[in-house]
């Protein structure tokens, strides 16, 4: 349906509201970026920044040379990779088995896992179990306790259920066992959905920090997000109290904003490519769920 007037007062109002909202969403981020690359001493005098003043990457140099940052970065990469692997293998195999309608006990297992969506043990008892299984203060505490999401299992199960059964039947006639069928037939066919879920999982691992806060105590095992939080909150408080150590007030601003940008950077880089997949993933979730 084509409108005859492509421009009306109503449309103008709608467009304006949207632009304002997009601006508000984007602007804080833009501000942080340009603060991080500006020369520190030009910022201080309470001037308003719309463009970077000067060009100074010292803040970035400081951070990239910082041991804690590098450790945190490595840890985060490690947990994301490990987390993705463990998560996908567990969820895929579990969902596949559950997708077979003839599996004895299937309903029972489904009820068991759905219960966990409605009711769970809570932070403290889970912590005690994690401690009991010896995971505290290891990278595995960030990988295993969150390995399976019932929602994802249900989603994956639907994908598998939608693959035509004839494929399996003909493979069985050829003598293949369930494992081979799973790995050689079903997995390659679900690659697109697996990739989408994988992306969600990866981004989640990169961004999450509650589990690191709860389960990790040693500083050198920390992840990027906790590192960043300490930086931003501590430095912020310290700069207000005027107690700075090596960094003076103005540099601390650059360091803070630079670290924010660095931690966000991988996501920024990946975002244009993955945006499509995420949207598809959400739609699929909504329809199947």
């Amino acid at each position: 349906m084509n409108r005859n007037r492509s421009f009306s007062a109503g449309n103008a109002a709608i467009g304006t509201i949207l632009v304002i909202f997009a601006f508000l969403t984007f602007m804080p981020f833009y501000y942080v970026i340009l603060t991080s690359i500006s020369e520190p001493h030009l910022i201080k005098e309470g001037e308003l920044l719309l463009w970077p003043k000067g060009f100074d990457l010292t803040a970035y140099r400081i951070i990239l040379n910082n041991d804690r940052f590098l450790d945190a970065f490595a840890n985060t990469v490690l947990r994301t990779v490990l987390g993705l692997t463990v998560n996908l293998s567990l969820q895929l195999s579990f969902a596949y088995a559950l997708s077979k309608p003839y599996l004895p006990g299937r309903k029972f297992f489904m009820i068991c896992i759905i219960i966990t969506m409605l009711f769970n043990g809570g932070i403290v008892p889970t912590y005690l179990i994690v401690k009991g299984t010896g995971l505290i203060d290891t990278i595995w505490a960030l990988v295993i306790p969150s390995a399976i999401s019932t929602w994802n299992v249900i989603l994956l199960r639907s994908f598998f259920e939608n693959i035509p059964v004839d494929l399996e039947e003909s493979a069985k006639i050829d003598g293949a066992n369930d494992l081979t069928i799973f790995i050689r037939i079903y997995l390659p066919l679900s690659l697109a959905s697996v990739a989408t879920i994988g992306l969600f999982v990866a981004v989640h691992h990169w961004n999450t920090y509650m589990d690191a806060v709860i389960y990790i105590n040693s500083a050198n095992l920390q992840v990027l997000q906790t590192f960043l939080r300490d930086m931003v909150v501590q430095l912020e408080m310290a700069s207000i109290l005027g107690d700075m150590g090596i960094l003076n007030e103005t540099t601390s601003l650059s360091v803070r904003t630079a670290s924010i940008f660095l931690v966000a950077l991988p996501i920024i880089v990946v975002y244009p490519f993955i945006q499509r997949y995420f949207i598809k993933g959400v739609m699929l979730g909504a329809v199947k769920g």
């Binding site: 509201i17 942080v32 195999s93």
Partner: protein, 322 residues
């Protein structure tokens, strides 16, 4: 009796006694051994990390101590619950959690709906895509990054907002440590971060509305607002209700990650919610039993909430979770 067909549920088959059932079960496990093999790691995981913690909730009824472990810690009955219900701090955190949730429902829940409605009106695809790309983005940032940006923006020395104030001749305000600003900051940052992404589901629902309805409305002479009221909103009503139920069910879990980044001791009185309190007092302060009791409270009420919301939804609309 012939060979039972194991393509049906085994435990329905055998009616002649336990021995028969056992044999059937073993036969099934062997027959489907690869499938059960694939199932096994997941089952073990669920048992250890989902069901054992549920069992661990019993420490809410005990006086848990590290050295004695879950099993051997002495029983304490309802002592912790009695304590909680007479402890003013507890009411404060519950109140904080509820208030923030109400704010969220009132301000943040409608926002993606409005955004989706606005986006839906756009005919210019390029403009629409660009806006979408921009507003979806903050969802992908962590709360540490986004919260850090917010903190930076509101910083008294060098934050943008205060610089604007100085330009206008006003005194800088340290927003982050003032209790009266905390909740608005939480909600505003939530809106900026999540509205864009939340709109996706509504956009999908809007796209599913039959265009013929709109045409019929145009023929009947409906203007934009009338179409909204009589075609659009009813069309997405089910989606809204479903998401509302889910949101209500999650109320008591409100965002540890967001609050933990944004809060500080000066705003504990309004900012402390159940999850942050449990972490701080329970894990850092080693008050395990007490906070396990809070956690149990949280889970129980959460379940009650989602159950009631579901019933109300069943009564007043045609969609519900179960």
């Amino acid at each position: 009796m012939g060979e039972p067909d194991v393509r049906a549920y085994a435990y329905n088959e055998s009616k002649t006694g336990w021995e028969e059932i056992g044999v059937v079960w073993i036969r099934n496990v062997v027959k489907y051994r690869y499938l059960y093999l694939l199932l096994l790691p997941g089952l073990v995981w669920y048992f250890i990390y989902k069901y054992l913690p549920m069992y661990g909730l019993i420490i809410a009824f005990k006086d848990y101590s590290f050295s004695k472990g879950i099993w051997h810690s002495p029983w304490a009955g309802f002592k912790h619950f009695e304590f909680l219900f007479s402890y003013p701090d507890f009411y404060r955190i519950v109140k904080n959690t509820l208030i923030i949730n109400v704010y969220e429902l009132v301000f943040s829940f409608p926002a993606p709906i409005i955004l989706a409605l606005l986006l839906n009106e756009l005919k210019n695809m390029v403009f629409k895509r660009s806006i979408q790309t921009i507003v979806y983005f903050p969802h992908f940032l962590s709360w540490v990054v986004f919260g850090g940006i917010v903190i930076q923006l509101l910083s008294p020395n060098d934050g943008l907002i205060n610089q604007l104030r100085e330009l206008l001749g006003l005194e800088p305000v340290h927003y982050m440590v003032k209790s009266e600003y905390f909740r608005p900051i939480v909600i505003a940052s939530l809106i900026l971060k999540e509205t864009g992404w939340g709109a996706i589901i509504y956009l999908a629902a809007l796209a599913a509305i039959d265009p013929e309805q709109y045409e019929a409305a145009t023929i009947d002479g409906a203007n934009r607002w009338q179409k909204l009221r009589y075609v659009t909103l009813p069309g997405i009503r089910n989606t809204i209700v479903l998401l509302l139920i889910l949101k209500i069910g999650n109320m008591l879990d409100y965002g540890f990650e967001q609050i933990y980044v944004l809060y500080n001791p000066s705003v504990y009185d309004v900012g402390d919610v159940l999850s942050t309190y449990i972490y701080r007092v329970g894990l850092q302060g080693a008050k395990f039993s007490l906070t396990a009791a809070i956690g149990l409270f949280q889970s129980a009420i959460g379940f009650l909430l989602i159950w009631s919301a579901n019933r109300i939804a069943k009564r007043y609309s045609d969609v519900s979770l179960w």
